[in-house]
Symmetry: C3
Amino acid sequence: MSEHADGEELYALAAKLYPMQRSLTGAGVRETFDLLSEYLPLRVCEVATGTPAFDWAVPKEWAVSDGYIADEAGKKIISYKTNPLHVMGYSAPIDAVVSLEELQEHLHSLEGQPEAIPYVTSYYKERWGFCLTHTQRNALKKGAYRVYIDSTLKEGSLTYAELVVPGKRTEEILLSTYVCHPSLANDNCSGIALATFLARWIMSESRNYTYRVVFIPETIGSLVYLSKHMDEMKKRTRAGFVLTCVGDDRCYSFLPSRDGATLADRVAQHVLAAREPGYIAYTYLDRGSDERQYCSPGVDLPVVSIMRTKYGMYPEYHTSLDDLSVISPQGLAGSFAVHKECIGALEHNKIYKTTCVGEPQLGKRGLYPTVSKKGTVGDAQLYLDILAYADGTRDLIDIAKALRVSVSHLFEPIAALEAVQLLKSLD
Amino acid sequence: MSEHADGEELYALAAKLYPMQRSLTGAGVRETFDLLSEYLPLRVCEVATGTPAFDWAVPKEWAVSDGYIADEAGKKIISYKTNPLHVMGYSAPIDAVVSLEELQEHLHSLEGQPEAIPYVTSYYKERWGFCLTHTQRNALKKGAYRVYIDSTLKEGSLTYAELVVPGKRTEEILLSTYVCHPSLANDNCSGIALATFLARWIMSESRNYTYRVVFIPETIGSLVYLSKHMDEMKKRTRAGFVLTCVGDDRCYSFLPSRDGATLADRVAQHVLAAREPGYIAYTYLDRGSDERQYCSPGVDLPVVSIMRTKYGMYPEYHTSLDDLSVISPQGLAGSFAVHKECIGALEHNKIYKTTCVGEPQLGKRGLYPTVSKKGTVGDAQLYLDILAYADGTRDLIDIAKALRVSVSHLFEPIAALEAVQLLKSLD
Amino acid sequence: MSEHADGEELYALAAKLYPMQRSLTGAGVRETFDLLSEYLPLRVCEVATGTPAFDWAVPKEWAVSDGYIADEAGKKIISYKTNPLHVMGYSAPIDAVVSLEELQEHLHSLEGQPEAIPYVTSYYKERWGFCLTHTQRNALKKGAYRVYIDSTLKEGSLTYAELVVPGKRTEEILLSTYVCHPSLANDNCSGIALATFLARWIMSESRNYTYRVVFIPETIGSLVYLSKHMDEMKKRTRAGFVLTCVGDDRCYSFLPSRDGATLADRVAQHVLAAREPGYIAYTYLDRGSDERQYCSPGVDLPVVSIMRTKYGMYPEYHTSLDDLSVISPQGLAGSFAVHKECIGALEHNKIYKTTCVGEPQLGKRGLYPTVSKKGTVGDAQLYLDILAYADGTRDLIDIAKALRVSVSHLFEPIAALEAVQLLKSLD
């Protein structure tokens, strides 16, 4: 399938995900998994409120059906039904008439972005609140306001989904994305769409690694997931990617693992350097998604993020402006291609060793021009360079680095050298 | 006490030290220790002439009471009583009338600094000599000159002083300064004053490390001291500082240990980079004080120097121009503050380890805002960053480096994290 | 002997070598060794056609006595007797009349260098061919051409020569040069002349290392030689140099070993950095001579090349323009001097250790001025610097690097320190 068609499909899925009212828990997440189950054989799991996860516990489940602020004339100034961001995430229910002064304490707006509704949550302390544009807030006049939020916070469960795609090896590649953000397109309808289509592509290819794809609410979800699977993940995971903010087309960004030199770091940096040399390299200090858990001391998984514009670094971030206009088929297609190239590189990334002492005679194997003249050696140089560095200590990424080419540039010549028994892979 | 008041006190002590006629041995050094004993409970030691110290031996003790050159009319052209630098250090006695031609062989002046009396010594070969300004020298007319030096060189002793300030741990921090230079202010009245006030401050603080403070004549003194204490110092010393040329206010300078990566190097470079990023980094090739002995092969102590302008690099160096105008309360106060910060960093420098798997829930411990909105995470980020890097392999300096902050910036948040049992120090 | 006289001698030998019709095998190589045997006690070896050498076998021996293209009028347009490059190396015999169209398939010329006859070979596939200038080729008119090559390809042998100059130690330094190129001056009459005069110089000096000097055809020759000597060479070789393109005076070039950090790399980089800081540093990717075999995985010898302009990087390369005007006595003398300095450095390169704890008293050994005044310390600083870094872990190159001087700058002071027992070499 063309990169163009890929991008359109990814965008279409992101657009379907956009209106769903996701939160840390609840109906929006389940609706999301219902949709994704049309694409993938997901295993959906429910974890009961109160279940411990290291320092945390699964919070109550939140449901909200309506919410508004009405003025004295009964006119609804803002309404959940217009934009779900208007009700603060995990807001407690309220039905009261309050003065403007009291109301102000429960309002959230952004002075610097007066037309944006901010995305605000209060997961771990019960309070009520509304989010609105700063322009809307400034228009509020002294007086009494009806505040109404029809929400519940009660024992329930946290919902996540996973998919394990077995490969020839038990070693795993992790793909992790989060499903807790409501109508924000780049953050993270884009990541969910990418995870879905990467998983479909992986299932369609022959593969060496086993792939673990997880769709979780951010932070508490990865902690819950780790609390169940950490031992096996530590044993098996060779590389992992957190998929987030992969839909815009402004730039590419890289966020390393805490270790900074894992296989995931090496492959991501190599692919980005070859394809997108202008990418922005962040440090682990700039982290902000589930790598915070995956890479924490004692967990130490080799997990990185390849993003387009990093969360927090684009103006629409965590506001109503992060809508479907922020992402594009091109942006998504680029992320898809980069991640596929990383996975391709990982699949091919073996340690290689020449079978020869000294250079082989390429000519008798049809790999070398038999007339030697100025310039001809160039044609076969790549074979000789591969063999020169395939010394049984270097993996494919090392060899590509030594040769200053991209890993994918070596797939074919390596296959040719293996075919004539001049090269073998170890392991 | 304010930095300003510190500077004034340090300067006052340096000013008292300035006129004293110190040399490698003798009355000037003892007078110096009499003064310092008003500030510190020093242990003053005498080591007899001839006592071996590795490749060296304690030289004869030198005493000088007068010295002058007089012209034919009996007029004293230069006199020890005007400036003790006029008599070459360790000059043999002389009482003779010599021609100008013969006299010239015993004179020392600086053509490039015609108004400066140079500081010259001849510790290990007996000869007599005078030092004078080049202008004075040029004014000498052909004729006979009375040369008179009332000095003695005889069996005696070398005098040094030490102070061991015990801490909770037997591991030591070394402070070493030299007391063999006569009326030179920056080199090294400044270092003696700084060592004195650092020792007083250390005694006034609770401390983990034991502190060894030594006041010695340069080179032979450190060799003598090492010949008595090397084994225990090699076992115990975790970091050391040679205090010299710390009184002017032109710049900061760093001279590393031979190893270049000891704890002393790490803490000094960290503190200087944070406080005085324009500091001049010398190499061990530029060494010139007692680190030459402390860092020599087989001794290998972790000793560095943090100076203002390095010895040899300021025009007044080793001349009569290195007077009290070269140093200032501000210059001394800066050196005092930098060394206190190094010591503070060493005292706090433990290896830390988070007690959590994954990130902790800071909110329930009052360390995190409970409403999550754009920007709020910044407030608690420092706690999370510390925990992210506190993996049981990094000490405080490593963590500060990873976080790109100064060590002292972390004292409070680390205490807060320890208080809620999210962090513990190892060892 | 002066560097100037050296250069003249080297050039004179290169000029004698230039007209000889060398190829991979045959009379030209033997003629070359006859000449070199006037300079060196060479051992000349013959290896029979078909003898295996790893992935290769010794090819048939080639002999050629004449070759030309004549036009319909019988006029010889190009002739082997004018320039042996006109007959393609290892060309099969031919005696036929062919059309211009058919002839074209057997011609080699360079469009971009229309006045150059290219150097072309076909060692491993039998075919016939001629090389000519592009101008000559363009002048060919439609018509019939007599093509005549009087050559034979038959069972015979490959000829190489070696010289082992024993030293006090069995560890070896390797010098390798190739003798398979016909009338090309820089590539490689220059290398043969340099190897010859280096060997003569080595024989005239007292030496620690044993020296192995090999004159071989490129590629197949080094493979044949390795197939006989690899085990002992792997055990003994401490450093090696491929001598090629050492005769022009445009620049210096360095080609590292595959490892990049062997003793050969360290000494060559050190000497070049000190003598020729503008030298061009290539990478192992740019390799092109027998280091391809010596450094290949499993062989792993510490072999580098120090060249003037690297093969492939000068316009005359592999054409008739690489004549005696490309090389010069000055160019050859520079290469001779650099290689001698490398060998000198290797001979002196021991691990040193001070015999003192702390600095020694240089004065009592006559190595230090006994009057200490501003500036005097500089005179003895080199002794103290050597002792400061001679800690039993650093070899001479390490010490020179730490001191930022050239190795040869240290020969004398090290001898002086050894003479007074302040320094000793380990091993």
